[in-house]
């Protein structure tokens, strides 16, 4: 149990995907203008991440490894993620139209979110067990949402700030991300206990 909690905290805070591994930066910079839409995208991504970790773990350890097909890893993973996102989109549309309306536009964006593929690659590199992989997916999603929402909050206020002209847009967003990354470094001590 302790191991699982550690994996969760590491994935969501101390080794935050966005702020320490630079995964999922595209939506981080592109979408995070408003808090509402950030929460929507965050929840959709968390869901896909958890499921993607589960599915790719099973495929990797029960199909690719036993049949010696590890060199197909990247191709398989990306196909799994892409088809999974489509599947989720279809199911949500059938089951809950209101939820689809809220999340729908974000779903296609998720396929090209490097955080998802990154998650599955890290999972294999670190030899996570099945349970650890699932928790890792969940934690990474929560961490992604957290970073996205904080960023959106700052950017909503940034409208009132006088940013030097050349830095407007991407420039200032990156610099703020840098400061957030420094702030998150401060959490590094939690695990050492």
């Amino acid at each position: 149990m302790k191991e699982l909690i550690l994996v969760f905290i590491a994935a969501s805070i101390t080794n935050n995907f966005v702020l320490t591994y630079f995964l999922g930066i595209c939506p981080f910079i592109g979408v995070s203008g408003k808090i509402d839409s950030s929460i929507g995208l965050g929840i959709a991504t968390t869901f896909v991440m958890t499921m993607a970790a589960t599915v790719t773990w099973l495929i990797y350890y029960y199909i690719l490894v036993p049949f010696n097909l590890v060199f197909l890893q990247y191709v398989t993973f990306i196909i799994v993620i892409a088809s999974f996102v489509q599947f989720v989109e279809m199911v949500i549309r059938k089951v809950s139209p209101p939820l689809y309306k809220a999340l729908g536009i974000f779903l296609p964006l998720i396929t090209t979110n490097c955080a998802i593929l990154g998650l599955t690659l890290f999972m294999v590199l670190r030899n996570y067990s099945f349970l650890e992989a699932v928790v890792f997916g969940l934690g990474a999603g929560v961490g992604f949402t957290l970073a996205l929402v904080i960023m959106a909050g700052i950017r909503e206020d940034l409208v009132f700030a006088e940013v030097p002209e050349p830095l407007q847009g991407a420039g200032i967003t990156l610099i703020i991300a840098g400061m957030l990354a420094m702030a998150f470094m401060g959490f590094g001590g939690i695990i050492s206990g």
């Binding site: 080794n15 060199f71 197909l72 191709v75 890290f122 590199l125 670190r126 030899n127 695990i191 050492s192």
Partner: protein
């Protein structure tokens, strides 16, 4: 005739999708088999070279690196065939990910001869210092009649202690734990054989 049937079928969306996906998929598979066959022998040679280089660094004068019956445990031998010691690969979790290292002990497993980090994803400038000489060299000559320990912000007092890197205690502790665990295992393996 066959041509016509194909043309007609090509008009059908589903058919087109299936055929084109199948072609792209199998082309990709074949290309990768080819790449894999070209690269995998070279990759295993690279890994072997890396291991042997690390062992030579730990045991200067090593002429031959021999395998033992146990995977990941090697014998370092001098030119005259004299056993210099055992080297073994050990891995475990660090601060950010897996740390994989190789360590060497004398034939009687009473003293450490050294260690080298093969792979780590620790923070550059802090945890990643475990791979650099100031930290690494502390391990050569450690006595193994006691589990290895680390001390913080002071010079080691005992001959089984090392000083942890300031600001990277977790990485330092991870190395110590990985080593202690693996040394015990290797000791049992080698005792069992003798």
């Amino acid at each position: 005739m066959a041509d016509n049937v194909f043309k007609k079928a090509w008009g059908n969306d589903i058919f087109r999708i299936i055929v084109s996906l199948a072609i792209v998929g199998s082309a990709s598979g074949m290309a990768l088999v080819f790449v894999y066959n070209y690269a995998s022998p070279k990759i295993s040679i690279n890994i072997k070279h890396e291991t042997e280089k690390a062992i030579r660094n730990i045991f200067p004068g090593t002429e031959k690196v021999g395998k033992t019956s146990e995977k990941g445990v090697y014998k370092a031998e001098s030119g005259k065939g004299e056993l210099l010691g055992y080297a073994f690969v050990a891995e475990g979790n660090g601060y950010q990910g897996i740390i994989r290292l190789i360590a060497g002990v004398d034939p009687a497993i009473t003293e450490m001869k050294g260690m080298e980090v093969l792979e780590s994803s620790e923070t550059p400038g802090l945890g990643a210092e475990i791979a650099n000489p100031p930290f690494r060299n502390q391990f050569s000559g450690l006595k193994l009649d006691h589990a290895i320990e680390y001390v913080k912000n002071q010079k080691p007092q005992e001959d089984y202690q090392i000083e942890a890197i300031t600001g990277a205690t977790i990485s330092s502790r991870a190395v110590v734990n990985i080593l202690n665990k693996r040394i015990d295992e290797v000791r049992k393996l080698i005792k069992a054989k003798q």
